[in-house]
């Protein structure tokens, strides 16, 4: 009999604990509505105060997600010096930040300002986790390249504060190439045929073909593209048009000089060969400018040559911008910081410290910009580049074209493979 009484007391103890839990959830809900109200008020106040000056909220302190480097620490320190607002820099990769903000933001531990690559922007806007760039819109538009501004814009609303643009090009090891002519693809093929020594793992030309980002370069010279209207119209798919097919036939020809499976030409392997001086021409991204500028041999960057008998090769480019979280408790301060770290002077400083390609326009000839052969080569390549789409439909490109490029490289029929992949993309986009 007393046994049961004991169980009952036990139940009551359980209830005390549960009641404590229940109380917490209730109060949690209340506080969220409160903060929603207060932020609402402050926003209205800011608007009522007039649009002349954006004033930081009193007691503001910012959390900043970016890939941490010397420049980000420097900029955070400068901002604190100038406005007295503390900025905590946390190392969160541009491609992870959106996913983290969707969980950390509502919990109150997310960033106020975060970096996102343009292919992640569509998802961020759809999820509603970032605020538009409203106050500094004109300034941002006026100082930056149009392609960087467009890449930070969705449906006509500008969200981002562009930091840099990136693309890929040909890094050339001058010590190996010496004065061989590398003006056309035929030159590169001829050089590589002479240079290749597969047994000893020496290669003339290599690229990371398992990443579809690079493979697009071989489509564009003959008129291929991913999405129409400069990669903005996902209802116009160009991966299987005549130009793309012709381009992919050329792509198959490259096996002559790169006798590998695409999946074996991984980034680690290629970078290893390149840094050991066993790879003469390395098609790689501008994010390596900093690293490859310090190698013990002379490095130059050449833009991708035109396709044989075709037009200029247009490579895909990307953009990294900073964005203000819509969960930020200090949106004004966050906007000020995002604008501060992406100002023209800061972009130049960034270029000097880390070797990024600035998003700002018309500074390629600025005396403070790095003048080395790598940087200048990339400035030239930027002129022949096109921003990859920042729309969420881009995921279907990666999904269907990755395997297609692999199959084509292994000798599959070009037209049939591309048609199948394009069909897959169309169904996925159409059924949405």
């Amino acid at each position: 009999m007393t046994k049961k009484l004991g169980v009952l007391v036990l139940c009551m103890m359980l209830m005390v604990m549960l009641a404590a839990c229940g109380g917490k959830t209730g109060s949690g809900a209340e506080t969220t509505t409160n903060t929603a109200n207060t932020t609402g008020n402050s926003g209205e106040e800011a608007a009522a105060e007039g649009t002349e000056e954006l004033t930081p909220e009193p007691g503001a302190a910012l959390t900043f997600w970016t890939i941490k480097d010397d420049f980000t620490d420097y900029a955070a320190a400068e901002f604190e010096k100038k406005y007295g607002i503390k900025v905590t820099v946390e190392d969160v990769a541009y491609w992870d930040s959106v996913a983290r903000l969707t969980t950390d933001g509502p919990a109150g531990t997310g960033a106020d300002v975060l970096g996102i690559n343009n292919d992640g922007l569509g998802g961020a806007v759809k999820a509603g986790v970032i605020l538009p760039n409203d106050y500094y819109e004109e300034e941002t538009r006026s100082i930056n390249r149009k392609m960087a501004v467009d890449a930070s814009t969705i449906d006509g609303i500008l969200y981002g504060y562009p930091r840099n643009v990136y693309t890929y090009s040909l890094y050339v090891n001058k010590d190996l190439v010496k004065d061989a002519k590398l003006e056309t693809w035929d030159d590169i093929i001829a050089f590589s045929k002479k240079f290749n020594d597969v047994k000893n793992n020496k290669y003339g030309f290599m690229f990371e073909g398992s990443n579809a980002f690079y493979d697009v370069a071989f489509m564009t010279g003959y008129g291929g593209y991913v999405f129409g209207s400069e990669e903005t119209d996902p209802h116009d798919i160009g991966v299987n048009n005549e130009g793309s097919i012709k381009g992919m036939e050329f792509f198959q020809k490259l096996r002559e000089i790169m006798p590998l499976k695409l999946s074996d030409a991984t980034r680690d392997v290629k970078t290893g060969l390149w840094e050991d001086g066993k790879l003469a021409i390395n098609m790689d991204g501008s994010w390596n400018i900093g690293n490859y500028g310090k190698l013990p041999f002379q490095v130059e960057v050449l833009p991708l040559p035109a396709m044989p008998g075709g037009g200029d090769t247009i490579v895909l480019a990307g953009n990294t911008s900073y964005y203000v979280s819509s969960y930020s408790k200090y949106p004004n301060a966050a906007k000020m910081f995002a604008n501060f770290i992406t100002s023209k002077e800061m972009q130049i400083k960034d270029n000097q410290m880390t070797g990024i390609i600035p998003a700002a326009e018309g500074i390629d000839n600025d005396p403070n910009i790095r003048k080395d052969a790598i940087m200048q080569g990339f400035f030239k390549q930027m002129e022949h580049s096109r921003m990859m789409s920042n729309r969420t439909e881009m995921e279907f490109f990666w999904n269907y074209m990755g395997p297609a490029f692999d199959e084509i490289w292994n000798g599959a029929d070009v037209k049939a493979t591309l048609d199948k992949a394009a069909e897959g993309m169309k169904t996925s986009i159409g059924t949405k």
Binding site: M1, G6, S210
Partner: protein
């Protein structure tokens, strides 16, 4: 006899206390106890009852509304002057979680309420029998003396409910919604969609093809991964422990080395070792004049490579465990076998193998289950590659768990991922339950 006498002694009271106590407890928890003259306990329970009713009235309607609708107002941007303002609406996922918690708490309270009625009934019955109900002091000392383990167990139980059961129910619920990257909160509201995700996954050909193929490969993979690891370990253990082997501890240490390196590191190294062009394995094969094998770039080879690498990483554990079991087999069994003139293979087959299997069977099944979910090795070694154009967001070597990861983390198809999660959950629970109930090792323990 004594009891009968008591019942006869108070016939007119029969059922009176019981009925009243139950009736009062039904009206309000604790009233029955107060009626039974357990005042302290009764008032305490009454206080909880009031609190429970209060919570139910204040938060239950909201929780039910939240669970039923998953939110009604959308978050949207509003332009105030020059500045955009995010007007926060309902966040479907949080509504779902909060609703679940509230409903859970309410269920616990209902259970307590019923327990309270039962207690009132029982105490009432005791009073009819002429027994004095326990005082509060007596109850407390009884609890401290005899119910202590239950109180301590209650804490992990709470953990299990809120950190294991709740998330599983949450995952199951997500499978019935349209939660994808396109309806990501807070900008969008999530809707209940019933069996839509199940239908799409199993009926649309592209998806069902991927699902069945990946499931098939998952089981094939788990089977071979377990068998190779186990028998590899068995063989190594027999060799190391067999008579006449010197430096036994040296061999044991050498064989355990692959396991001593963090799996994360060794898998990433293996990935480079098996590179088709630059990996040392193929380089050596080339030197011997053997054609290079497409270890990771051909679908079939990639699968074989996975199993080989898993074998290399997992046999040391089996080996260690089996060595442990071998030392428990009584020596006289072998001596008796020797006298009977049994050969080495007969001794292994008829003595060693059954003895080891007896202890190892549950562990093998658990290893099989673990291999079904062996995310690390697949994700780090092949990452599902080589790519397969016929699959939806999966490669040739993807198993269910890596496909689930890709669907949710990379593609944002949370509802599909949940459907797969439910499937894995069912498969694993079937194995786990079967393991506990069927294998001999557990049966033996139950009997004792």
């Amino acid at each position: 006899m004594q009891q009968l006498a008591i019942e006869r002694k108070y016939p007119e009271h029969s059922k009176k206390f019981r009925k009243k106590a139950v009736l009062l407890s039904v009206i309000a928890m604790g009233l029955g106890q107060i009626y039974n003259r357990q005042y302290a306990k009764g008032f305490l329970m009454l206080a909880f009852y009031v609190y429970g009713i209060y919570t139910a009235v204040t938060s239950l309607p909201h929780a039910l509304w939240a669970l039923a609708t998953l939110g009604e107002t959308e978050t949207h941007l509003q332009k105030v002057g020059r500045l955009y303002k995010q007007v926060m609406g309902d966040h479907s996922i949080f509504l779902m979680i909060e609703g679940l918690i509230t409903v859970f708490i309410m269920l616990v309270m209902v259970w307590l309420y019923i327990a309270g009625i039962k207690d009132a009934y029982r105490t009432g019955k005791l009073r009819e029998e002429g027994v004095r109900p326990n005082t509060f002091k007596q109850t407390l000392s009884f609890v401290a003396a005899y119910r202590f383990p239950h109180i301590v167990l209650a804490i992990p139980m709470l953990g299990v409910v809120f950190f294991t059961v709740m998330p599983i129910i949450f995952m199951i619920l997500v499978a019935f919604t349209d939660f994808t990257r396109d309806t990501m909160p807070p900008a969008h509201l999530i809707n209940w969609e019933g069996l839509q995700a199940f239908k799409e996954l199993l009926r649309i050909k592209a998806w069902s093809h991927t699902f069945y193929s990946v499931t098939l490969w998952t089981f094939i993979w788990a089977f071979f991964a377990t068998i190779t690891g186990y028998f590899g370990g068995f063989a190594a253990a027999l060799l190391v422990q067999s008579k006449g082997i010197r430096f036994k501890s040296f061999w044991r240490t050498a064989f355990i080395l692959p396991f001593a390196i963090p799996m994360f590191v060794s898998t990433l190294i293996m990935r480079n070792i098996f590179n088709g062009q630059f990996g040392p394995v193929n380089q050596y094969l080339g030197m011997l004049g053997i054609a290079k094998a497409p270890w990771l770039s051909d679908p079939l080879w990639a699968k074989i490579t996975l199993i080989i690498v898993n074998f290399w990483l997992s046999f040391p554990v089996s080996m260690l465990m089996i060595i442990g079991i071998l030392s428990t087999i009584p020596k006289d069994m072998y001596e008796a076998a020797d006298i009977d003139g049994a050969s080495g293979s007969q001794k292994t087959r008829l003595i060693t193998f059954p003895m080891v299997m007896y202890s190892m069977a549950p562990l093998i099944i658990m290893q099989f289950v673990a291999n079904i979910n062996n995310f690390n090795i697949v994700y780090l070694l092949t990452n599902g590659k080589p790519l397969n154009g016929d699959f939806q967001f999966a490669g040739h070597t993807d198993i269910l768990i890596t496909w689930l990861f890709k669907l949710s983390m990379e593609q944002g198809k949370y509802n599909y991922a949940s459907v797969i999660g439910i499937f894995i959950f069912i498969v694993l629970s079937v194995f786990a339950i079967w393991n506990v109930r069927r294998t001999k090792a557990f049966k033996e323990e139950d009997a004792s």
